[in-house]
């Protein structure tokens, strides 16, 4: 990282886009939140815990978490056909795995917690924004949680690692091209989600994880502020 690397939008390599977060954006829901990285905007709503129906799906030992991630049709330039795609189904499951380790789901036997994540506007890193919003919404819904989780995508553009990948970077073609590494971590530095598409050495991947750890700390502060401010405003 000696040579100055130029990111398309001029950010420093370890600089996140401007983030914003807010809870309580869906009045009908038991908990809800918005989270954005620059132009990537996610909203999430939590319904529950509530009794699982049908009854045969109930688990008497612990509760069930269901996630439902989707992008709205005009969140991207090429209109997405409404409805679930294979991609959105996979990301729904990934989001569930990213969140479940911090949920104290044992406290909710026979019940289900539904998390609906919708991407309103996309400029890459949508699953990360979605997980950050979902975690806020779960806390806002008063669900017992051991910790918060924060999610960020680390990119390798040619040989350079960068934090919080945007669309231009996702499509990077120079040199070795782009490698996308979305990572989710708990506030005590445990990994709950990790994916990778591209090519990277073992050693550099370790650096990527360390970069993610630092970025997640910044994201955590934004999430914390959103939760604390939702009351502060009314003080």
């Amino acid at each position: 990282m000696t040579k100055e690397f130029k990111r398309p939008d001029g950010r420093k390599v370890d600089e996140l886009r401007k983030m914003s977060a807010k809870v309580g954006v869906v009045p009908n829901a038991d908990g809800s939140a918005m989270f954005s990285f620059g132009d990537t905007i996610a909203i999430a709503a939590v319904y529950g815990p509530k009794k699982m129906h049908p009854q045969h799906k109930q688990n008497p030992e612990k509760g069930t978490l269901r996630c439902n991630y989707n992008m709205i049709s005009f969140s991207v330039n090429d209109r997405i056909r409404p409805g679930m795609s294979r991609r959105s189904m996979e990301i729904s499951e990934i989001s569930k795995w990213a969140l479940e380790p911090v949920l104290m789901i044992d406290n909710y036997p026979n019940m289900v917690v539904d998390v609906h994540i919708n991407i309103l506007q996309a400029n890459a890193s949508t699953r990360c924004a979605g997980i950050n919003a979902a975690c806020l919404a779960l806390a806002h819904a008063g669900i017992s949680m051991k910790n918060m989780v924060s999610s960020v995508s680390i990119g390798k553009l040619d040989k350079q690692l960068v934090v919080d990948v945007d669309k231009k970077e996702e499509d990077w073609e120079e040199g070795e091209g782009a490698t996308d590494i979305p990572i989710t971590m708990t506030s005590d530095d445990k990994i709950t989600h990790l994916q990778l598409d591209g090519k990277i050495t073992n050693k550099q991947l370790k650096d990527a994880i360390e970069l993610a750890r630092k970025a997640c700390k910044e994201i955590y502060e934004v999430q914390k502020k959103a939760l604390k401010e939702s009351l502060g405003e009314e003080k």
Binding site: P49, K51, A139, M148, S187
Partner: protein, 225 residues
């Protein structure tokens, strides 16, 4: 131990509330090593070394002794299933009605969609058991129901019932506050009921300001002009 630790503060899941061995973890917290950590988003509070977190949002968590308002969801051979907004079903048995009810005449006492004020007398693995045997409980036919976030109920009631008393006095309405966030208002006139409803919504909107009772008094003065 600093002074601030005694004060209520907003905490989020995973946040350390206090350190040191001489504290006990209460509701919404757990002990991790030497630390008491929050497992909820809410207000942390210390009372006689016991640390707890009061949730500020989310669904209603039923407790024994709570007076709740619910809707008849189903009739069974020996009672009524009542929706009180909790994830577990609540059941009102024939035996918990203050008068004799013929098993064939359940619907004459309460039918689908009827509203009832009841008390939770037991919570167990099977669910929640309700009773309407005490005074002030039973089916309601008149008045309106206002729904507020269950976590704001303590503010609507106020210290020793001071807030709800103020609203009753100012509006002339009869008010029963269910711990599950459903509030029953019964006045002589529609205008009175709407006025009481408006004041309750004012209280829930301003629920985090200090000196709320004074604010509400001022609000009434302004509104009555």
């Amino acid at each position: 131990m600093t002074k601030e630790d005694n004060q209520r503060k907003v905490v989020i899941p995973g946040e350390v509330i206090v350190k040191g061995d001489n504290y006990l973890p209460g509701d919404g917290t757990e002990k991790r090593g030497e630390e008491i950590v929050s497992i909820k988003y809410g207000l942390s509070e210390e009372q006689n070394r016991l640390i707890k977190v009061i949730p500020l949002s989310g669904i209603y968590h039923p407790r024994r002794g709570n007076v709740v308002i619910g809707k008849v969801e189903n009739l069974t051979f020996n009672g009524w299933v009542i929706d009180i907004g909790a994830p577990e079903g609540a059941f009102l048995s024939l035996m918990e009605v203050p008068k004799y009810v013929n098993k064939d005449g359940l619907d004459e006492v309460m039918d689908f969609g009827d509203m009832v004020i009841a008390k939770i007398w037991s919570i167990n693995k099977r669910g929640i058991d309700l009773s309407i045997k005490s005074r002030g409980l039973g089916k309601i036919d008149e008045g309106i129901i206002v729904k507020v976030n269950p976590n704001k109920v303590p503010r609507v009631i106020g210290k020793e019932g001071s807030m709800v008393k103020l609203i009753k006095d100012e509006t002339g309405c009869n008010i029963t506050v269910g711990q599950n966030g459903l509030i029953w208002i019964k006045g002589d006139k529609i205008e009175d009921e709407l006025f009481a409803k408006k004041s309750i919504l004012f209280v829930t909107e301003k629920s985090y300001i200090s000196g709320l009772t004074e604010e509400v008094k001022k609000w009434f003065e302004k509104e009555k002009k």
